[in-house]
Symmetry: C2
C-alpha cells in the first residue's frame, strides 16, 4: 500500500519557483547543512530600475534561472528574507577564472530527492552530485576525462550579499587533502561565525587565491608568493582555486562549525567517512526513517504533496552544535550543551502556529530540545528575551510578538517539554516584560501597543495578548495560580484594539483615540504586520467566543468570516506586495502569509462548522500543488507545510497552549502514523473527495466523537479514527465546541 521508500515521493523542487522560497539541494532532517545550488540573480526591472529582486532568492535558487553560480552549504527554506549561502564551491575546467565562473545548466539534467541533488554544468561538462550529513556537505564532481579538475572556493559569495557583508575570511591548507577556514558575516544573522573544514578525495596539485579587498597592512607577506600555493590565506573578500589531477571524480566534503575550525574538523571526522554513494544512501535512509512514520493513500500527486510537506517541515529548525556538544551562543561565547541538542533557525512568528505543534506531536524529543535551545537563548540574550527569530547564534528580531512563548506553553501544557518547566515559565514571563521591546512598556501599563510607538500597533497588541494567554495556560498547568491570573488579565488585552463601531481591530494612539483614516483591506500602513484588519482581527485564537461577542454575536461573526472567504479583494490591495500575491488569496483570506492560518478553523465555534471543511479543502486545492510553483506562499521554515499536513489529516492546532486540535476534514482517505511511543494511529476517511468533503460523523476507536476537536491524548493513544464523509454539510450542535478563554473566566 505504501512505499518502503517514502522519500521517493518527495519532490524537493516543489516551491523552488513562485512564492515557496524553497531550495532543491541536499540535507538530512534538521541538519546543519543545506547544500544546494545558487543560481544567478538576474536584475529585474522594478519600478523602472534594474534591481536584484533578492526577495525571490531567499533560498539561493530560482527554478526559472539558467545559470548556476556554485553550490553553497547553508540555505533557508521558505523564508521571506535572505542570508547564508556560505562557503560556495564551483567545479570548473579550463583556465581558472576567479570571476564569472558560473555555468549554464538545463533542468533536463537536474534531479533531486531527499539527500541527493544532481545536475550537469553545461559550460564545463561536469556532472555534479550533492549529498549531506547533519554537519557535512558532500560533493562529487565528475569532470570530462583528460581535463584538469579545478574547484573555485568563493568565500565572498553570499545570499543577499553586499559590499562589506563578509567581515573577514581565512583559509588554511592544512595538508594536501585538507583545507580549513573561517568567515564572519554581517547579515540577517548579524555577527555570524562560520568555520569550516574541507577534505578532498585526491591531493591538491596547485592552488591560489585573490583578495578582492586587500588590507592596508601586509608588506611582510611579500616574503612569500602569497597568491600561489601559500597555505595561510586571509582577507576580507577571498576567492580561491584548487586544482587536482584529471581522471577519477573528485569528492569534496565540507564540514561546518560555529565554534572553530578544529570543531569543523571533528565534525568532518565524525560524520564524513565513506564514499559519496554511501553517504547519499545514508541521507536517503535518514529521510525514509522519518518520512516512514507516515503512510498515506492517495494519488501519486497527493502522496508527493504529503511527503514533500513532511520533508519541508523537517529542514528547520536545524542543529547548531558540533558533534562534541560545543556551540556558539547568542552571547558570542562558546557553550557546551548539557544534555540537549542545540538548534537554530526559529522563525517563530510563523512556526508557533503549526510547525512546532507538528514537531511537538511527532518529534517531541527534538521539539523539546528546540525549546531547551530557546531557553538557553533567553539566558544568553542581552535583551533578556526568548528568541524572536534565531539565526545562527544571532537574534534578528524578525517580525513581531514573542512567539517562543506559545511554543513553550504548548509543550508545557501537552507535557512534552523535558527541561525545567519552572525555568521555562520564568523565561516566558521575563520575555513578556521587556519594556524596551516594541511598545511593550506601554502595553503593560495601558493594555495595548500605541500607534505612536509601533507601525504595527494593532496586530502586535493582538499577538502579545495571545502570547500572554499562553503564559496563563502554562501557569495553570503548573498550578501557579498567581501567574495564571496575571496573564489571564493580559490575555484579554486584544479587546483594547477592537473598534466596535466598525467591528474590526484598529490601531489606537497613546491618547486612546483610534487611527482616523483606516482601511480594513489595506495590508501596509494601517497598524498591522503583513496582514490587513479584515484577516488579523480574527487573531484571537485564545478567546474566539470573546471575539464573537465583541463583533456583536455569532451572526455578525459568521457574516464576517463567511464574507472573508467569499469576497473579492480588489487588486490594488495585493499589487506590488511581496507578502500577498493573487495566487495566495482565497477571496479576501490570505493563506500565503501566516496571520490567518487558523482562521478557516474558526467556523468550529459557530453553527456552520462545515464551512471549515469546505474552505480547508479549497485552500489545499488552490495553494498546495505539485510542481515548482506548488506553494501558495513562502513555506516559512515549514509552517505552510505543517498547516497542510494537519489539515490533510483532518485536525489543526488553532490555539497552541491548549491540548486541542480542531477538527476539519481529512483530505486523504487514509493516513497511518507511527507515533513517538510506537503506537499507531490510523485516520480513515473512506470516499473523501472534493464532493464528499464534509464530515458527517467521527468515530475514535469505535466510539463516536462528541466534540469538534480532538486532544493530544486522543492522538497519542493511537488506534483508528473513522471519518464518515458526506457530500452534504452537517452541523451537530450537540458536539462540544473548542476552548475559548472567556467561557472559563
Amino acid at each position: 500500500m505504501v512505499s518502503a521508500q517514502p522519500a521517493a515521493y518527495v519532490d524537493p523542487f516543489v516551491g523552488t519557483d513562485g512564492m515557496g522560497h524553497t531550495f532543491p539541494g541536499a540535507c538530512v532532517p534538521m541538519g546543519s547543512i543545506q547544500l544546494s545550488p545558487d543560481t544567478d540573480i538576474v536584475p529585474h526591472n522594478i519600478n523602472g530600475i534594474y534591481q536584484n529582486r533578492t526577495y525571490d532568492y531567499c533560498a539561493g535558487y530560482r527554478h526559472s534561472d539558467s545559470t548556476i553560480v556554485g553550490f553553497s552549504h547553508r540555505h533557508l527554506s521558505g523564508t521571506g528574507h535572505s542570508d547564508l549561502g556560505d562557503i560556495l564551491i564551483m567545479p570548473v575546467t579550463g583556465p581558472v577564472r576567479l570571476d564569472g565562473y558560473k555555468s549554464r545548466f538545463s533542468h533536463d539534467t537536474e534531479t533531486a530527492s531527499p539527500g541527493l541533488y544532481e545536475v550537469t554544468l553545461a559550460d564545463y561538462g561536469i556532472r555534479a552530485r550533492l549529498t549531506a550529513t547533519k554537519r557535512v556537505g558532500v560533493h562529487q564532481y565528475e569532470y570530462p576525462s583528460e581535463e584538469a579538475q579545478h574547484i573555485i572556493l568563493d568565500l565572498t559569495h553570499s545570499i543577499y550579499g553586499y559590499d562589506g557583508k563578509v567581515c573577514r575570511a581565512t583559509l588554511r591548507v592544512e595538508n594536501d587533502t585538507l583545507v580549513t577556514g573561517f568567515r564572519l558575516t554581517d547579515g540577517w544573522a548579524r555577527t555570524n561565525y562560520t568555520y569550516f573544514a574541507i577534505s578532498f578525495s585526491k591531493p591538491i596539485r596547485d592552488y591560489g587565491y585573490k583578495d578582492r579587498h586587500p588590507s592596508s597592512y601586509g608588506g611582510f607577506w611579500r616574503r612569500f608568493d602569497i597568491g600561489h600555493n601559500f597555505p595561510d590565506m586571509a582577507g576580507r573578500d577571498i576567492v580561491s582555486w584548487f586544482s587536482f589531477d584529471e581522471g577519477e571524480p573528485l569528492t569534496v566534503k565540507v564540514a561546518i562549525s560555529a565554534v572553530d575550525a578544529a570543531g569543523a574538523v571533528r565534525n568532518l571526522q565524525a560524520e564524513g567517512a565513506g564514499t559519496f554513494d554511501e553517504l547519499a544512501a545514508k541521507a536517503a535512509a535518514a529521510w525514509d526513517k522519518e518520512l516512514g512514520r507516515f503512510e498515506v493513500e492517495g494519488t501519486e500527486s497527493e502522496k508527493t504533496m504529503f511527503y514533500t510537506s513532511i520533508y519541508h517541515t523537517l529542514i528547520h529548525p536545524s542543529v547548531y552544535m558540533d558533534v562534541d556538544g560545543k556551540y556558539r551562543g547568542v552571547d558570542g561565547n562558546i557553550h557546551e550543551a548539557d544534555g540537549f541538542t542545540n538548534y537554530t533557525i526559529f522563525s517563530l512568528w510563523d512556526t508557533y502556529r503549526a510547525e512546532h505543534p507538528f514537531l511537538g506531536l511527532f518529534w517531541p524529543d527534538e521539539n523539546s530540545d528546540m525549546i531547551r535551545s530557546m531557553v538557553e537563548h533567553w539566558k544568553q540574550n542581552a535583551v533578556g528575551m526568548l528568541p524572536v527569530w534565531s539565526l545562527m547564534g544571532n537574534e534578528n528580531w524578525c517580525m513581531s510578538g514573542y512567539h517562543a512563548v506559545p511554543v513553550l506553553a504548548d509543550a508545557i501544557v501537552k507535557g512534552t517539554y523535558k527541561g525545567s518547566v519552572e525555568e521555562a515559565l520564568a523565561a516566558m514571563a521575563a520575555t513578556s516584560k521587556v519594556r524596551i521591546y516594541e511598545g511593550l512598556g506601554f502595553y503593560m501599563d495601558h493594555g495595548y501597543v500605541p500607534l505612536d510607538e509601533s507601525g504595527t500597533a494593532a496586530s502586535t497588541t493582538l499577538e502579545y495578548s495571545y502570547d500572554d494567554w499562553t503564559i496563563h495556560a502554562a501557569a495553570l498547568k503548573t498550578g501557579n495560580k498567581e501567574l495564571a491570573g496575571e496573564y489571564g488579565r493580559r490575555a484579554m488585552n486584544y479587546a483594547n484594539v477592537y473598534d466596535t463601531s466598525i467591528g474590526y481591530a484598529r490601531p489606537r494612539y497613546a491618547d486612546g483615540s483610534f487611527k482616523e483614516q483606516f482601511d480594513i483591506d489595506q495590508t501596509y500602513g494601517e497598524g498591522f504586520i503583513e496582514g490587513n484588519s479584515r484577516n488579523f482581527s480574527f487573531h484571537v485564537p485564545q478567546d474566539v467566543n470573546g471575539l464573537m461577542k465583541l463583533m456583536g454575536g455569532e451572526k455578525q461573526f459568521l457574516k464576517k468570516l463567511e464574507n472573508l472567504f467569499a469576497m473579492d479583494l480588489a487588486p490594488e490591495y495585493y499589487a506590488d506586495n511581496e507578502d500577498i500575491e493573487k495566487e495566495c488569496l482565497v477571496g479576501g483570506y490570505v493563506h500565503g502569509n501566516e496571520p490567518s492560518h487558523h482562521v478557516p478553523y474558526l467556523f468550529a465555534w459557530t453553527s456552520k462548522p462545515w464551512l471549515t471543511q469546505y474552505w480547508v479543502r479549497e485552500i489545499i486545492n488552490r495553494m498546495y500543488r505539485e510542481g515548482i510553483d506548488g506553494l501558495g506562499g513562502n513555506d516559512d521554515c515549514g509552517q505552510m507545510s505543517a498547516w497542510y499536513l494537519f489539515s490533510a489529516m483532518g485536525f489543526y492546532p488553532v490555539c497552541p497552549g491548549t491540548d486541542q486540535y480542531v477538527i476539519g476534514a481529512p483530505y486523504l482517505p487514509y493516513v497511518k502514523i507511527t507515533l513517538p511511543g510506537g503506537n499507531t494511529l490510523e485516520i480513515k476517511a473512506k470516499g473523501v473527495s472534493d464532493r464528499n468533503r464534509y464530515v458527517k460523523r467521527v468515530r475514535i476507536n469505535g466510539k463516536p466523537l462528541d466534540r469538534r476537536y480532538v486532544t493530544q491524548e486522543d492522538i497519542l493513544q493511537g488506534g483508528v479514527w473513522e471519518f464518515e464523509m458526506s457530500a452534504r454539510p452537517s452541523g451537530n450542535d450537540r458536539l462540544r465546541k473548542p476552548y475559548s478563554f472567556s467561557d472559563n473566566n
Copy 2:
C-alpha cells in the same frame, strides 16, 4: 645601598619621544595589558604632503603631542611598525560627542611609574589614573564634582587605523555595571580577536552608541530604539557612550581575552577584585619583585637607566592566555595550554640577540614557556614554521630569517628549556626547510638566497646561515651527530655571499654573479635588510675566525672593524631613513637597529679586545640616556634595553647557541643579582669610569679568569666577580678567545 623599591627608579617616559617608541602607561611584567594614553596623530609634512607619520606612533603616544585621544589597552613597546590600541576609553564631561572628544593635557600633570600612570585631561578637568594586572586594565577617573560623568568607549580606535581595519565589533550591556564585547581587526596581527569585559564601580545611568558604518541589513532592529539604552550593540565601526551619576570617582576595569567574552569575564573575576589603589599597589609590588633581583650602585641617572632598561625588557613577550589556560592559537582555534603559560609578541629578528638570552638567564621559567609557546605556534602554523614575529595569535612575518631557531637552540644548549628538546629540534629543522619561505628552497639547494628571489638576499643568507649553525649546536648538545653535521654544513653558507674582491658581503643572483652596482654604505636596495654591507658583513657570530679568514686575516678584519666605529658616514646614507638616524650612529656603526648589536664585541677575537671596552662604553654614553628621547633607536620589545643591561654588567651573548658571554667591561661599579636558583652574583668594577673603562684583569670568586668570555655556568654559580679597571687598555693574548665554528671543524 639599594632602594627596597627599585621601581621608583624606573622612568616609563624614557623613549617616549625620539626613536624609542615606548609608551608611558601601566602594565605588569609580561602582562597582556598595556594600558596607556594614545595621543593625537598630527599630520606631518612629508615630502611636501601632509601625512600621518604613523612610524612615530607605534606605541600610541608621542611625548611631543599636546592632546590625548583616550586610554587603550594594548600597546607595543619599542616596535618599528604599528598595531593594537584596542578598546579605547575616554572620560568626558558635558554634552557627549562621539567624535572629537579628545582633550589637551600638560606634562606638568603627568606622572608615570611601573604599573601607574596619571594625567589631568585639561578640557574636562578630569584626573585620570591607570593601573593594570596581567589581564585587566584599571582606570580611575576623578571628574569635577557636580558634573555628570561620561565615558566614551570607542571600538573604532586603533593604532595605525584605517577604514576597514575593524572587521566587526559587538557590545553587550550585561547588567548595570558590566559590559562585554568583541572586536575583530585586520592589522599587523592579521586576524585579531579581542574580546573584553568592562566593569564599572557604579551603575550605568544611561548609554548609547553609533555605528559609523551601518550594515545593509538591520530593518527589524527598529523594534527598538537601538541607539539608546539598547543592550545588544554591534557593527563595524561602533562608538559608544556611558553615563554615570556625579560624585565619587568612577573606576573602570577592563579585562581582555582572545577566546570569548566569557573568558574576559573570568579574567576580570580572577584578577580585578580590589580598589584602584590596592591594584596599583599590587602592580608596583609586582615590578619591585622582578626589578629587585638586581641591586646596583651608580648615580641616580645611571640607576634610572638600569632599572628602566629592565622594565623595558619585561614588557614583552606578553601573556596571551586566559586565567583558565585557554588561548587562541595561530590556527584560529581555541587551545588549552597544557602545563605552560602561552605568550605572544615575539619580535624575533630583534630579540634572539640579547632579549631572550637575558630572559633565559634571569627568568628561565618564563623564557622556557615562551619557547613552548613558539613550539605550539609551529604546530599550529599552516606554513609549518616557528614564529618569525608572533602578534596576538597571528604571524606577521616581520623581518627575515627564522630566529626563533637560535632562541630555542640557546635554551637547549644552556639547558634551560623544560619542554621536549626532541620536539623543539624537530620544529627547528622543519622551520629551516620550508622551501616557499623567502629564497629558502634555493638556499637549500645552492647555499645562498639569490637576489632574483629576495631584495635582501645577502643579509638573509647570513641570517639563515647563523640560524642553521644554532641547529648544529643544539643537535650536538643532544648527541644527534647526523643533524649536527647537516646543519654544520649549512652554517658555512655565509661564505657564499662574501665577495673577497671587496672584502664584504654582497648579494648574488641565481646564476652566481654578484650584483654589479654596489655600495657597502647604502642601507636600502643593496640586498640587505635594515643595514648596510659595512655593518651586516660582520653578521657571522658563529664563526668569527672563519669570517676573519675570508676578510683576509686578522689585520684586514681589524682594520674594517676599527674603521666602522671611527669613520664618518656620509649624511646621504641616513637622511630620510626610518631605521637609521644620525642619533643612532657611532661612526658607521648603527646601534639603533639590531644587525650590528654584537659587532662591538668582535674585538674579543682579535689582538685589540680593549676596543670592545672602549666602544661599548661609548655606545652606552651616546645611546642610552635618561629622558624622553633616551633611546638611540626603537627599543624593539626590549632588545635595545637587553643590550644595555648585558653591556652594563660587563658581558654579552655574542653568539646565542653557545653558552658563552663575551667579556666587555662593566659600566657600573657594582651590580648584585639574585639568580633564579637563589644564589647571588656580585659584579664589582671598582673605580670604573669613562677614564677607567678598560679591564685589566677579572677574578671570578677570587680566581683569575683565563678567558675572554664567561659561561652560563660561571654566571649561575654566582659569587663575586671582580673587574680590575684601568685607564689604559690591555690585551692579554693568553686569554682564551670565544667560540668560533670553523676552529672546531
